[in-house]
Symmetry: C3
Subunit: 269 residues, 3 copies
């Protein structure tokens, strides 16, 4: 399957819908999906015909997050979802696809919406904290299983989830690794509104179209102003999370736990 | 009409009510109203008999924000509501009345309340994010029409509205330019509580009096501590917004759109 | 009574419950309770058998905060609950027990929960803003009476309460010195959930156990990441609050008011 095959692209007027499309694996992000999604965002940013983007998932899942089976295969190559932009951390190794995708999300210059059509795990939750507007299906549910896996929060979620959900709801989500229902996602501020499954994508496209109808330069400048005051804190959180993940990997107990977990995933796949 | 005529002043014990009073123009801020409101705040700050201030509007509107017809008249004089305190931005030109008013709001040393008695547009919404406590009438509604007008957020609203309303509610308000109901204002945190129209001002005065009954030095120090942690971010946001507004004005397409919009406003007035 | 007698310690598996136990004085913090609570936290942090800590109060009160009668006795020794860690502020005087306790709270490396079993006043409220997760009894109520006492917010509450409760709810609490009900504590984000009095402690222990069941290194790193982005702002707020408190004490009018207030407390005790 070509890289591009991992993400479906569909335009509704000035709104582009990018659909994570790997249903046999619950839309889990392997390197190909990371690269396809990053390319989809970069292309939409450069296309003057696109005024806003909606991210969604194919089938009944939003995304299961990073593909742990693939991660186990490539574990020898490095620590995985760690911020390669950390000064001095990466040397001359190529940027990990996780970071390439996250850089594309963080740097995206147009309004970015999410239509969360089902379960979102790991990056399926932490990605949402970077989206300007998040709509969820009534049967969506979200989970950040980092403590369960023995690792640490990723994608600046240790900074952005407290900002989006409040300190305590974020602490509960990240410390317990528990599920968040669609209702709680809305009540906490992680999502803006919830809809019946069939209404979700049409509502997200309509909201994006209402924004894309305004002058593009004004919309882009407004998005830039909204993100400017958190940009440095997001970079700093990614750096801290990357350092903490590297520390965990170096700890013998933790490293073994993760390696066993990944080996189990690999065996099960 | 004298400058002072634009703002009515009324004391209830140690609480001063300042009423934007230009009903023929929906209490829109022309230069005279900006200056009168700034002078009203400065006077209240210096008056030991005043413990707290309530801002409200005459008639059935809170304020329509900056008077666009006047803005069109003076368009040749400069870019309008841009932060003149930006280092190097203003040179030796006098400070714009918008900035003089906003400086008086940001620097006000006593508790500042708003009793939002009706529609608030533009500054009628963004001003609220600087008030310590905001009470709204059940028939109030609020709108930040910056993308609709092809411009950018003002008055540090790109920083303060996410802080007050959450990232997503603020993004929706600023990107769509849609109306916010009184109910949504309370649900989002933009307002503290809503009241029947006749109860609004008495409730606001009573709340202000409860605060003004405490030792003045303690109240002033508490207000200073509450604002201290956001002061630098507010200045930085005003600077960024001013730069973005100047960029928009320099862009040929945007400049034309704004000039046409303002010409239409002027013709209609 | 020995210092240790002020705090009861009880382990439920990997969860340690520390109970403020001075019921004759509504669990008010005298120097002995401050020191015992600080020692309890430090001990729990160093004990590998402890995965999380729950703070609660004996009897029907959470804590009445700083013991004002004792504070009056020692008023000549210095200004009381002021941050002694301020560079240049303390010289070679020993750290005040208030600050020793607060330092132990701020630096605590494991998840810290509160089970608020009744009224919390002063530090009984401001302490909660440092806890990762706060559960309240339905009959809990909270109050920050700093303006009523003519002083200023403490324990970084001027920064943390706006962050936890939103700018306006925090401003109302700190400026009016009014009571916050259990229901409003939950609605504002100051507490996560409320429970019937008999269910409170079991629910808090169960939540703490769910967290403590995860790998300890991962949980500790997650807590560190969650607090990292607010650590500097907390220190800065404590410093500002300490300076403001010293200013208030130096003001003749305020100093007299506080001395009279404390003298009255002392006479009444």
């Amino acid at each position: 399957m070509a890289v591009e095959g991992r993400v479906r692209t569909e335009d509704h007027g000035r709104v582009r819908v990018l659909t994570f499309d790997r249903p046999g694996r619950a839309n889990a992000f392997d390197a190909a999906l990371y690269r396809a999604a990053a390319a989809g965002l970069t292309g939409a940013d450069l296309d003057d015909g696109v005024g806003a983007v909606v991210l969604t998932g194919a089938g009944r899942t939003f995304t299961a997050g990073t593909d742990l089976a693939e991660m186990a295969d490539t574990a020898d190559a490095g620590p995985g979802p760690v911020d390669r932009t950390t000064p001095g951390a990466a040397g001359d190794r190529p940027e990990h696809p996780f970071d390439a995708f996250l850089d594309a999300v963080v740097g995206f210059g147009k309004p970015l919406l999410a239509a969360v059509n089902g379960a979102g795990v790991g990056l399926g939750l932490t990605l949402l904290a970077h989206c300007d507007l998040v709509l969820v299906s009534e049967n969506a549910r979200l989970k950040a299983p980092f403590t369960q896996m023995g690792v640490v929060p990723e994608a600046a979620s240790s900074y952005l989830l407290p900002r989006r959900m409040g300190d305590q709801r974020a602490a509960e989500a990240l410390l317990t690794s528990g599920w968040i229902s669609a209702e709680d996602a809305v009540a906490s501020g992680l999502a803006l509104r919830k809809y019946a499954p069939d209404d979700l994508l049409p509502e997200a496209v309509a909201l994006a179209q209402a924004i894309a109808a305004h002058p593009a330069g004004s919309v882009r400048a407004t998005k830039a102003l909204l993100t400017a005051s958190r940009r440095d804190a997001v970079s700093e959180a990614r750096r801290r999370e990357g350092a903490a993940f590297a520390d965990i990997l170096r700890s013998p107990a933790m490293g073994n736990a993760i390696r066993n977990h990944l080996a189990g995933e690999k065996g099960a796949s």
